[in-house]
């Protein structure tokens, strides 16, 4: 049967049988320790500089960003952005407690439909889990409160992110996910998927020329809530 | 030991192409080495570094030739080669032919450690930063692949060319792009090789240089042959010819006589 054939062939190639226990102990130890490798210096900065780096990288990759002082200012920022892009004011929204707590009623024209996205959605509003400064990347693990389709089906995706959730490197983002989800799912801690998104969808397949909006959203806008504690 | 430091004994590895096609390069090398304070000998029991066999998969012949080289070139302070690809063969590849023979491998590694390509030897080992030569005109320089990627030869030729009186170095768009020679490649896949060398000659001609230089005769023959087939007037020489100042009496590669 293929499984034993393949494992047997690997062992024959390596000129050994299955690994003895003392060697697997070492390998399990490495898995459990999941050691970090070299993290480039560019994101080793004080937090405010990491926030600035995140925004700079996001914009370099054709994303856009608005900073607001608190969650109360989010509806205004979303409304302004939607108006500036001539978009409709109804959107699919992630049913995440933090987004549900935003005072959307302050902008009554905005119409949020909670849940996953549908193909007909032009705008989606997603909950940002973590931002990674090194590359201007959003880490968006799937969950009941953060459906994946909001990242994919709408023409424009708006992500609401707290600046205190911006970290330097992907390794730090993994650590946050590990600590916040450990043991949540039997067997392993990862959700169904974790999307790392860096800017809007694009392709350079046609004569090697870059165009935005290949299949995923052609606009990615981040509303960044400056909630980082001073000092 | 002081004797070594002041007047090292250098064995010249001529290379089969220089021997057969353009001995003047070998004599230019000797002149440069002697001017740099070396005592130069040319072991007679040398033919070829074995790279054609090695790159064709014939390890046995390559190893046989290598043993001969190890014997012929032992006892010198340095072995110097006017070619990056033969130099690379001796210093990077030869030891690996003897994985099953630790004694020969050790001797091969000892030889490899003492082996240098000519221009990098002059600059990196003898500490030369200039030469006494004159070659007025625009010159472009091709970085042969093995010399560049196996032996790190890049700045050394340019440093010495900068000291040549009247010489104006103009870089190609892609000086490091392979010229398409590749030893046996150019005869096994001649169409592809011809296309590659014409891309190279287009780059050369676009520099406006009157002369093309490089450190490897194989590349030079390939590029010279293509330039002359195109009717170009660009002259082609080995860099040693210019550095040693023998160009007034030596026609360029492939140039008409008289």
């Amino acid at each position: 049967m293929s499984r034993s054939e393949i494992l047997g062939a690997i062992r024959r190639g390596l000129r050994r049988g299955p690994l003895p226990e003392h060697e697997t102990l070492g390998l399990y130890a490495r898995l459990n320790a999941h050691p970090r490798h070299l993290i480039p210096a560019r994101s080793r900065l004080p937090h405010p500089a990491q926030v600035a780096l995140f925004i700079a990288n996001l914009e370099k990759e054709f994303g856009t960003c608005t900073r607001v002082a608190s969650a109360d200012d989010v509806p205004g920022a979303v409304a302004d952005y939607i108006a500036s892009q001539n978009l409709p004011s109804d959107f699919a929204m992630a049913p995440h407690p933090e987004l549900q707590a935003i005072p959307w009623h302050n902008r009554p024209l905005l119409q949020a439909r909670e849940g996953r996205a549908q193909a007909s959605d032009l705008v989606s509003v997603q909950h940002g889990y973590v931002g990674i400064a090194e590359t201007g990347t959003l880490m968006l693990p799937a969950s009941a409160g953060r459906p994946t389709t909001l990242n994919l089906l709408a023409d424009t995706e708006i992500v609401i992110l707290r600046s205190s959730r911006i970290t330097g490197a992907m390794e730090e983002a993994w650590d946050i996910l590990r600590s916040e989800r450990e043991g949540m799912v039997v067997g392993n801690f990862l959700p169904r998927n974790v999307m790392f998104i860096t800017g809007p969808s694009r392709s350079a397949d046609i004569e090697s020329t870059l165009e935005l909006g290949a299949h995923g959203p052609r606009r990615l806008h981040v509303v960044l809530i400056d909630d980082q504690a001073a000092g | 030991m002081t004797q070594t430091a002041t007047r090292p004994r250098v064995a010249l590895f001529v290379t089969c192409l220089v021997d057969l096609h353009r001995p003047s390069i070998g004599f230019a090398a000797i002149k440069l080495l002697e001017a740099a304070g070396c005592q130069v000998e040319v072991p007679r029991a040398q033919t070829c570094c074995g790279q054609p066999a090695y790159n064709s998969g014939d390890r046995a012949t390559a190893a046989a030739l290598a043993r001969g080289i190890i014997d012929a070139f032992s006892g010198y302070d340095y072995v110097v080669v006017p070619s990056g690809s033969c130099g690379g063969m001796l210093s990077s590849h030869m030891p690996q032919l003897f994985d099953n023979d630790p004694n020969t491998r050790a001797r091969a590694e000892a030889l490899a450690a003492r082996t240098h390509e000519l221009v990098s030897f002059l600059v990196d080992v003898r500490g030369l930063s200039s030469v006494n030569a004159s070659y007025p005109g625009r010159v472009t320089y091709h970085d042969s692949c093995a010399g560049l990627r196996e032996l790190g030869i890049k700045t050394q030729p340019r440093e010495l060319l900068a000291s040549v009186e009247g010489l104006n170095l103009v870089e190609m768009q892609e000086p490091e792009l392979c010229c398409g020679f590749g030893g046996t490649f150019c005869v096994k896949y001649p169409e592809i090789s011809t296309r590659m060398v014409s891309d190279k000659t287009a780059d050369i001609v676009a520099t406006g240089a009157e002369t093309l230089l490089a450190g490897d005769l194989g590349c030079l023959l390939n590029m010279a042959g293509s330039l002359s087939r195109e009717g170009s007037r660009v002259q082609v020489r080995h860099i040693a010819e210019v550095l040693a100042g023998i160009t007034t009496t030596l026609p360029a590669i492939g140039a008409a006589q008289g």
Partner: protein
């Protein structure tokens, strides 16, 4: 996928005379290297990351059986299924069974070289299931019934006219007189057409850039988002992955990701990097109900423990072919199978046999540029040389080459004979060239002189002149 690798020479003649292809190659040729160089210049740690990447892959390969078993357990714990496939036929059968079991009519596909390798599309079509490529480049070559010519930019050999012509022919429900004023219009049309397919698909098939033992995850990397639409919308997600895609931990994958996009397109990070682990969870609002990984061997275990094991470090970035002067001259189709360029020249003989793919490792000048840009430091020229050694041992090289080499090697091992032969050869060639200084034609050297002149030698060998000099003569 059927191979034309034995016809490499004829393929290259055709491709070098294909004006459209040459135009496309000229356009892309400077771009990938320039992008990569710019990205690398901005990251001082890049060289160290390459070493780490090489070491991670070597460690994984040395313990591949262990990591495969750990990964399998974790996939199952997450609610996924693992199917082991020894060869292409097994893999095709498994994919078909999964599709038939759920009554699939349409299957969307993210870009997967493995899917080309096992020729799964043809197999599905034969059984009445329609596979639709969703990566823009893969979509157009599917429409044109062509194989991919590059492992990450499969349609880079096409020009705009080709796209427009194929779209007009295939999208018959649209106005045949419509105008594509910009490239963007082509993309938007594809986006609209493929959106329908994404939504209708019963099964989504993706490849995997990495498998992660620690978590039982698969990773895909795209810029378009098609891989994510392929795997999130349908009821069933099938991952096609070969065994050497494994890395141990998320942190290991993170290091590899720092190398991948930079080496491939010069981006610091691709737009969508997605880690998938099993099917949707009970509380999820979207996502597939089933997650299957088809784990493929197809000749890779035969490389382990051999001099070709290092090739299994490859992360499919395509940097090697982007920088290869031969590939950039002849294009990807010349190589005749799934994997072109330097990595294809080493991998293809391993997977389909050196008797069929023998030309590939020979059609290299060993310039070494590929190795210098490989993010995991695979010694590609050395591995190609090993293939030449295998061919030499098995007498697979052409007879003429072998004989010429044998004659030359006899002479070269005998310095006195060599001295004599070379003196004669030098004199004869110089005489033939006469005053012209070069030969435009030379018997037995047609390969050289067809395309360029042969410069004349000086006429004396070095050793003849040196000997005279030593004797005190002029």
């Amino acid at each position: 996928m059927l191979t034309t690798s034995p016809d490499f020479k004829a393929n290259t003649t055709r491709s070098m005379n294909d004006a459209g292809l040459q135009k496309a190659l000229a356009r892309t040729r400077p771009r990938f290297p320039a992008s990569r160089a710019a990205a690398v210049a901005k990251l001082p740690e890049f060289e160290q990351l390459r070493d780490i990447g090489r070491d991670i892959k070597n460690h994984t390969l040395a313990n591949l059986d262990f990591y495969l078993e750990v990964w399998e357990r974790n996939v199952i714990n997450a609610g996924g299924h693992v199917h082991w496939a020894s060869n292409a036929e097994d893999a095709r059968r498994i994919v078909l069974e999964i599709c038939q079991r759920v009554g699939a009519k349409t299957v969307t596909k993210g870009k997967s070289m493995i899917s080309e390798e096992i020729a799964v599309n043809d197999h599905l079509e034969k059984h009445g299931i329609i596979p639709v490529e969703t990566d823009l480049g893969e979509y157009i070559i599917q429409l044109r019934n062509e194989p991919p010519s590059h492992i990450i930019a499969p349609a880079f050999h096409l020009n705009r006219e080709d796209w427009e012509e194929s779209f007009r022919r295939a999208h018959t429900d649209l106005d045949p007189n419509r105008v594509f004023s910009e490239r963007r219009d082509i993309m938007i049309e594809a986006r609209t057409k493929l959106r329908e397919k994404f939504l209708a698909a019963d099964v989504g098939i993706t490849g995997a850039n990495f498998l992660i033992a620690e978590t039982g995850s698969s990773v895909i990397v795209t810029n378009e988002g098609n891989g994510d639409l392929t795997q999130t919308l349908p009821k069933v997600h099938v991952v096609l992955a070969s065994i050497e895609k494994m890395v141990p931990t998320l942190e290991d994958a993170t290091n590899m990701l720092r190398l991948l996009a930079r080496s491939a397109t010069g981006q610091d990070m691709s737009v969508y990097t997605t880690f998938s682990t099993g099917p949707r969870r009970p509380a999820d609002l979207d996502g597939p109900e089933e997650y299957h990984v088809v784990l493929l061997d197809n000749g890779r275990t035969g490389m382990i423990g051999t001099e070709f094991q290092e090739m299994l470090r490859c992360i499919r970035c395509a940097a090697c072919m982007n920088h290869c002067p031969v590939y950039q001259t002849v294009g990807g189709h010349s190589y005749g199978w799934v994997y072109p360029g330097p990595m294809g020249s080493v991998l293809t003989p391993s997977l389909i046999g050196v008797d069929k793919a023998g030309h590939l490792p020979n059609a290299s000048t060993f310039c070494g540029k590929c190795e210098s840009v490989c993010p995991v430091k695979i010694p590609l020229p050395k591995l190609m040389r090993h293939w030449r050694e295998r061919e030499f041992e098995r007498h697979l090289s052409p007879t003429a080459t072998r004989s010429n080499l044998a004659i030359w090697s006899f002479i070269a091992q005998r310095p006195s004979l060599y001295r004599l032969t070379t003196r004669i050869a030098a004199k004869v060639l110089a005489l033939l060239a006469g005053k012209k200084g070069r030969l435009a034609a030379l018997p037995l050297a047609g390969g050289w002189t067809a395309g360029r002149d042969l410069p004349a030698p000086e006429g004396d060998t070095f050793f003849a002149r040196y000997a005279r000099q030593q004797r005190g003569e002029a």
